[in-house]
């Protein structure tokens, strides 16, 4: 059973998260400020930590920094601050994910699971890295059997969706415009406006992302195109 440390100064929130995660079969230990969290981390085998930013005493940012000195467990930051700057700060100091309040409980659970899977897979599983296997973070495409895995979970994609995703993953970091994608996949010149590519991309995102509006892998570069974030 995997242990998750939840730390927030709002008891009701901790309680609610506890209910959701326990319901998913995790062991939850609760802390209400940073010092408590650090103490619990020392005394327990913790697999993942969910921490609030604004807390009395040691805040979430400093707690994360402290934890990162000794441990590499996944850390999800939970915050009422939803601005970009706050997110960037949190991710830069070593957090693995950032969820702004008020959050969708199901999304939280999904992210917790995703991070745990990745963490354990990275730790145990050494996937054969051949020419036909493309990896990007938790996203893995095996071109031999046309399988797409996200955090170890098999994803079902249509052939066109697969081809689009493969194109993007193969060229991770490069931005493809709709026309470019169309020409590569359909092998014909893109004439006239068509929503096909955009709709497919939307579908892919809905399948591989936990929150399609805030994608981790398939990012929309608005007004330019799409890309897979190099990880």
């Amino acid at each position: 059973m995997q242990t998750i440390l939840v730390c927030d100064d709002d008891k009701q929130i901790v309680e609610a998260i506890d209910i959701y995660l326990t319901g998913e079969g995790f062991r939850v230990i609760k802390a209400y400020d940073g010092y408590e969290a650090l103490e619990l981390l020392e005394n327990n085998q913790v697999d993942l930590m969910v921490v609030d930013v604004m807390m009395p005493g040691l805040d979430g940012i400093r707690t994360t920094l402290k934890v990162r000195e000794t441990s590499s467990i996944p850390i999800i930051i939970l915050s009422a601050k939803s601005e970009d700057n706050d997110k960037i700060l949190g991710l830069n100091i070593g957090a693995d994910d950032y969820i702004s309040k008020p959050f969708n409980p199901l999304e939280l659970v999904a992210r917790v699971k995703s991070h745990l899977r990745r963490y354990t897979q990275l730790g145990n599983l050494t996937t054969p890295s051949t020419d036909t296997v493309y990896k990007c973070g938790g996203l893995q495409i095996n071109d031999d059997n046309k399988e797409v895995m996200v955090d170890g979970e098999l994803i079902r994609l249509t052939p066109i969706e697969y081809n689009i995703l493969l194109l993007l993953v193969k060229n991770a970091g490069k931005v493809f415009s709709i026309d470019e994608i169309y020409e590569q996949i359909w092998n014909e010149e893109a004439i006239g406006a068509d929503n096909t590519v955009a709709v497919h991309i939307r579908h892919i995102r809905e399948k591989i992302e936990i929150n399609p509006r805030e994608p981790r892998y398939l990012k929309v570069v608005w007004g330019v195109g799409y890309k897979i974030e190099k990880q």
Binding site: E83, P102, V199, V220
Partner: protein
């Protein structure tokens, strides 16, 4: 330096007294110089010249040369072995009776003496016959046969040779006087002039005339000045400055041998040991020299003293004992400057009149005629000096009291007029200034014309150029003033334009401005300051508001998280009561709405306060719209909305922040999604027009749009007044703010139930443009 404690009044009186004294001294000096015979020769002669070099010396020498040759002539005639020979024959006459008689010197002299003639102490013929004796006098005129003293005299006509015996004997007596004179002056009495005249006949017999028998020629030459002329040389040996002009002719005329063996040596002992006319003249010469020098020294002393006392007077005048800063003005100092000038002119005129009339008469009583002109001149100068001194000191006192300019009529007049001018309206003042300018131009031009036309009758050449130069300078001045004024107003206008163009921090630099422009620019600067302060205050308050909203929203989010979570938990509790499920649904909806509301609120406040960091780059509007279409197509399908896009084939590039632009489109699409009538079409279009790219979205509203287009973009305004539908009412407001932040235009049009939103951006001319 020790300060003297004399009262200032005593100092003043002393200085004035000294000033007058120095004035007299310098005029006395000038008098000495002017009446010196050497006046007008400068000062060099004082150093260079000796008496022996002067003209008066050479004149005296020339006269003496005459005398010497007279002696040469008379000596042979009248003298025998150094004594006067009374038996020397003088002339021969033939009387009418036929008797011819030769008269000797003794006979001629005794005849003259009989008639009453005699030689006085100065060897000049004096006396004469008594009138009564004249009657009985023999008036017969004998015929003159010959005269020993004038052997070359030839009668020209029958009457010429007739002469009276009286006349002849007088001639002899005169000759004798001359002889005595020369002999007395140069031979009997020790003289400073030495001469030696020598004629030699062919036999070697020498005729020698000299007053220096015991001295050799060389000795004579050592005495000082000498002159040696020889018959066999053309050159004159001499160290004299001027050679007497008569000497050469006299020397050859008196040569009775007709050969070249003769010479003359003249020498002057320049130590002048003997009392003779030379010594006297030397003394006189030295005296005038001393006088000239002392005159010059007096003049110099007087001038320096005048200058010093003038400075002292200038320093002292107006001051009194005690308060050093206090300036006392005399009652006549109260007069305006112009009156002082006038008074001065009147005084000068009166002085002139007096000099013309009364003063000469008074002078005539005291001073001899020959000095009168000079005395008048002196008095004129002294009077002018005193009048100017008086006026100058008065001006100086006024200057010290800072009343020179203020006290003048011009100043007083200007002070009357200027406020009156200042009170005039600007157009009148401008007109007055322009008329003044024209008037000044006209005056100067006519002055030039007058002087030019009269240029020949005026003594001063090119006087007509003066008004021309003044006119030019005046034009330049006017031009500079106008230029400056124009430049200043241009600067101010530029400043105003810059300020109004959103640069409230802009300041006009009033450096070097004239007074009114400086005031205007300072007022503008303070206006700009005020505007800037107000703007920054506004920005600050907007920021504070945004911060407040952000903080409040943070505080709301935490309890909201719990609400959402627990509502969700409740829903999972498998409650079958449809009533409770309905309630939960409401709770769920409203809590979700609260969530979007808080998020939108933060975004709206930030967008409207500009508190957002933009990442502007080049994006393709067509691509963006395609992406947005892709995002929304399926959602639209839920409400049976048909999306119709009209996009150009080419890329349309604009400079914007891609994510913010997405937010704008997302809000617009969302708006259409929420408010469009079901089963209707939503038209999306991108077009290029006049260098701008326009994105347009059109839909038919489900509810009647009884509202202003402008009001729609205001916060919390929604098309449905009842506010039953989902949404914060901030979507369009955020979209508008974000668009404007990125430099785009955002317009909403409402036509009946047709809702139309248009976003416009300038098209970027890019190299990657297809």
């Amino acid at each position: 330096m020790k300060r003297s404690h004399l009262p200032i009044s005593i100092k003043k009186q002393t200085v004035i007294f000294l000033h007058l004294l120095f004035l007299c001294l310098s005029f006395a000096g000038i008098t000495f110089i002017i009446f010196n015979p050497n006046y007008g020769r400068g000062l060099n002669w004082l150093q260079e010249e000796d008496y022996a070099d002067t003209h008066s010396f050479s004149r005296r020498l020339e006269a003496d040369v005459d005398n010497v040759f007279r002696y040469v002539r008379y000596k042979d005639l009248l003298e025998l072995d150094g004594e006067v020979n009374l038996d020397a024959e003088m002339f021969c006459v033939t009387y009418n009776s036929g008797i011819t008689k030769i008269y000797t010197l003794g006979e001629a002299v005794s005849y003259a003496r009989r008639l009453g003639y005699y030689l006085n102490d100065d060897f000049v013929v004096a006396g004469g016959p008594d009138v009564h004796e004249w009657e009985s006098h023999d008036l017969s005129s004998p015929y003159v046969e010959w005269k020993t003293y004038a052997p070359d005299e030839v009668s020209q006509g029958p009457g010429d040779a007739l002469s009276s015996l009286e006349e002849l004997s007088l001639q002899v007596l005169n000759m004798l006087g001359d002889y005595y004179q020369v002999r007395y002056d140069y031979i009997d009495k020790p003289s400073n002039l030495y001469f030696r005249v020598s004629y030699m006949d062919d036999m070697g017999n020498e005729l020698l005339y000299t007053n220096a028998e015991r001295r050799s020629n060389e000795e004579l030459r050592q005495l000082g000045r000498y002159l040696y002329i020889s018959g066999n040389s053309l050159f004159v040996e001499s160290n004299l400055r001027y050679i007497p002009e008569n000497i050469i002719s006299l020397l050859s005329n008196n040569n009775r041998y007709g050969n070249q063996d003769y010479y003359i040596l003249l020498a002057v002992d320049i130590s002048f040991p003997n009392p003779d006319p030379y010594a006297e003249a030397q003394e006189g010469y030295l005296r005038t020299r001393t006088e000239y020098i002392s005159g010059a020294v007096m003049f110099l002393l007087g001038a320096v003293g005048l200058l010093i006392t003038l400075v002292l007077m200038a320093l002292l005048t107006g001051h009194v004992d005690g308060d050093r800063t206090k300036i006392v003005r005399h009652y006549y100092d109260e007069l305006p400057l112009e009156c002082l000038f006038l008074l001065c002119l009147i005084a000068l005129w009166l002085a002139h009149l007096a000099l013309e009339s009364i003063i000469p008469r008074v002078i005539r009583l005291i001073i001899s005629d020959s000095y009168q002109d000079y005395a008048r001149k002196m008095i004129r100068y002294i009077l002018i000096w005193l009048i100017l001194l008086f006026a100058g000191l008065s001006m100086l006192r006024n200057y010290k009291a800072h009343m020179l300019w203020k006290g003048s009529l011009l100043y007083r007049g200007l002070h009357r007029i200027l406020p009156a001018i200042a009170g005039l309206s600007i157009p009148l003042r401008f007109t007055a200034a322009f008329l003044g300018y024209l008037f000044a131009d006209a005056c100067l031009l006519s002055g030039f014309y007058f002087l030019y036309s009269q240029r020949d009758s005026l003594g001063i050449p090119y006087l007509y150029l003066v008004p021309l130069l003044v006119l030019t300078a005046f034009q330049v001045w006017v031009y500079l003033m106008l230029y400056r004024s124009r430049a200043e107003s241009q600067k101010i206008a530029d400043g105003i334009l810059k300020m109004s163009a959103g640069g409230p921090g802009y300041k006009i630099d009033p450096e070097g401005f004239s007074e009114p422009a400086e005031r205007v620019s300072q007022a503008l600067n303070s206006l700009s300051d005020g505007l800037e302060a107000a703007l920054s205050e506004q920005v600050k308050s907007e920021r504070l508001k945004a911060d407040l909203i952000t903080n409040v929203s943070h505080d709301i989010k935490t309890p909201l998280t719990s609400i959402i979570n627990y509502v969700d938990l409740l829903k999972r509790e498998q409650i079958n009561d449809p009533k409770i499920q309905g309630y939960l649904e409401v709770l769920d909806q409203k809590s979700q709405r609260l969530k979007t509301l808080t998020e939108d609120l933060v975004e709206a406040s930030k967008a409207s306060s500009g508190n957002i960091k933009l990442e502007i780059s080049e994006i393709n509007l067509v691509e963006l719209v395609q992406q947005a279409d892709g995002e929304f197509e399926e959602r639209f399908a839920v409400r049976h909305l048909n999306l119709v896009s009209t996009l150009p084939d080419e890329d349309v590039l604009i400079a914007a922040d891609g994510r913010r632009m997405w937010r704008v489109l997302e809000n617009l699409y969302n708006n259409a999604f929420k408010y469009a009538m079901e089963n209707s079409r939503i038209y999306v279009e991108v077009e290029k027009r006049d260098g701008f790219a326009y994105f347009t979205i059109k839909n038919v509203s489900a509810n009647p749009l009884n509202i202003n287009a402008d009001e729609l973009t205001e916060r919390f305004v929604r098309g449905d007044v009842a506010r039953t539908t989902e949404g914060s009412g901030l979507g369009l407001s955020i979209a508008k703010s974000l668009t404007q932040l990125q430099g785009g235009s955002f317009e909403i049009y409402i036509d009946g139930d047709l809702f139309k939103a248009q976003v416009g951006f300038p098209i970027q001319k890019s190299a990657t443009h297809k």
